[in-house]
Amino acid sequence: MASANDPFQFQEFEEAASLLEADRDATTITIDDEDTKAEKQRIAAGFIPDGDDEDRLASDDKTELLSGQKKSAPFWTFEYYQQFFDIETHHVRERIIGSMVPWPRKNFIHVYLRRNPDLYGPFWICTTLVFAIAISGNISTFLGKLGKPNYKYTPEFGKVTIAATAIFSYAWLVPLALWGFLLWRNNKAMNLVTYSFMEIICVYGYSLAIYIPAVVLWILPYEWLRWCSIMVALCLSGSVLVMTFWPAVRDDHPKMIIATMSAIVVLNTLLAVGCKVYFFSKPETLIPVEHAPAAEVIKTTHAAATHST
């Protein structure tokens, strides 16, 4: 709407909405600059930024939002699964480090996943953990029985299958159960925070990452070292899980909160201790106590032989 001033003076046009009110039939085009557009899209998507956490990764965020919405293909096509592999090397590195270092204010899902859960991390971390447990268990059995004369080394390949079953069922069935449980509770107590199934799988997958160095440490046959590393790994991964799921259950009945949190921690503990007990035998004492009876027998027979001659 031009005013009757000097025609060469630049005229500030109002927002499209107010222009439309004046003249309903007119078509208006609003051209924002990039920052305000990204800001509007972010707020429209329900994402409330929490200040200085976002600045470091802000440029990342902008490019993701500006590249358009996620295409939702039907689940039987290849493209549907491709959307869960839409990450880069530094994303995976950041997520792994974030799962090992629990920070009181940072929720893993909000800070690291940012509505982009991936299946690459959980799958390959679980696979690595399976082979790490099998190989470390094999090495530790070999080292533990090194002194024994009758020991014949066996590679024990059957254990790979057992390890795979245990770890993959933990990493896929427990998130399924937790997701179903949270969905059921959401119907009863209105929670503002809901996590999608893929996000829960992602958190559980990445929380297993701390166990890989712990399992490699278990090769050394010192019982105190093994228990120390289990405790540390349990504390770190358990606290990441608890802090992630706290916002989803905090509005609920206190008994439900305690039940959910303790179930998460107990299952985590069961997995860790179960793996240690099943795959890693207790290191036996290798001092000459074992050879003592044999040495005695040899001495007495030798003495008897020399006496008889």
Partner: protein
Amino acid sequence: MAAADEASRPFAGLSDVSISEDIPVEGDISVPMGSSRRDDEFSTLDEPVKETILRDLRAVGNKFIHVLYPKRSSALLRDWDLWGPLLLCVTLALLLQGGSADSDDQGGPQFAEVFVIIWFGSIIITLNSKLLGGTISFFQSLCVLGYCIMPLTVAMAVCRIVLVGGSGPVSFGVRLVVVTASFGWSTFASTAFLADSQPANRKALVVYPVFLFYFVIGWMVLTFSPAQ
């Protein structure tokens, strides 16, 4: 009316042309073939069987040489075939037999286990590479991963020869060095072919599963213990 005039104007001169009957109109209506390969394919029915088999064997041998000296050539990718990987997989699985597996079930890998690990592992790595947006096709990737098992198969043969001499710490040290070197060679050779098909910010994501795959196969080769 005016439109019809417009349309006929470019062809206006043609109405004067007439072809008399005594000028023969002849020619050859044939589409020129682009490459002579199609002629070869049509005539392979006539060649002797030995020629056909030798051609495939020469292709397989050519790819073995490419794995031995991994350069950035696309010959391995262009004409993929799965004969080489099958041959290598069967050889490796056969060499891993005859271990201390006859006593009880906690033994070495069975033939079927080796087969499944190699083929299933290759398929999963290929799927991973394609899901991350790689430009290499499914069978090309299987071909590359299969051919790059060759250094580990050679290492297995060397290990079995070393084990004939004895299985003490010295032989273990020799075997460790041989297996480590061939594992490094396999990983380097396959990433030379595979990493090019990914954008730069995802190369490590594609290389790590290949590393894990050859590490597991190397572990199987190293821990092979003969029956006593």
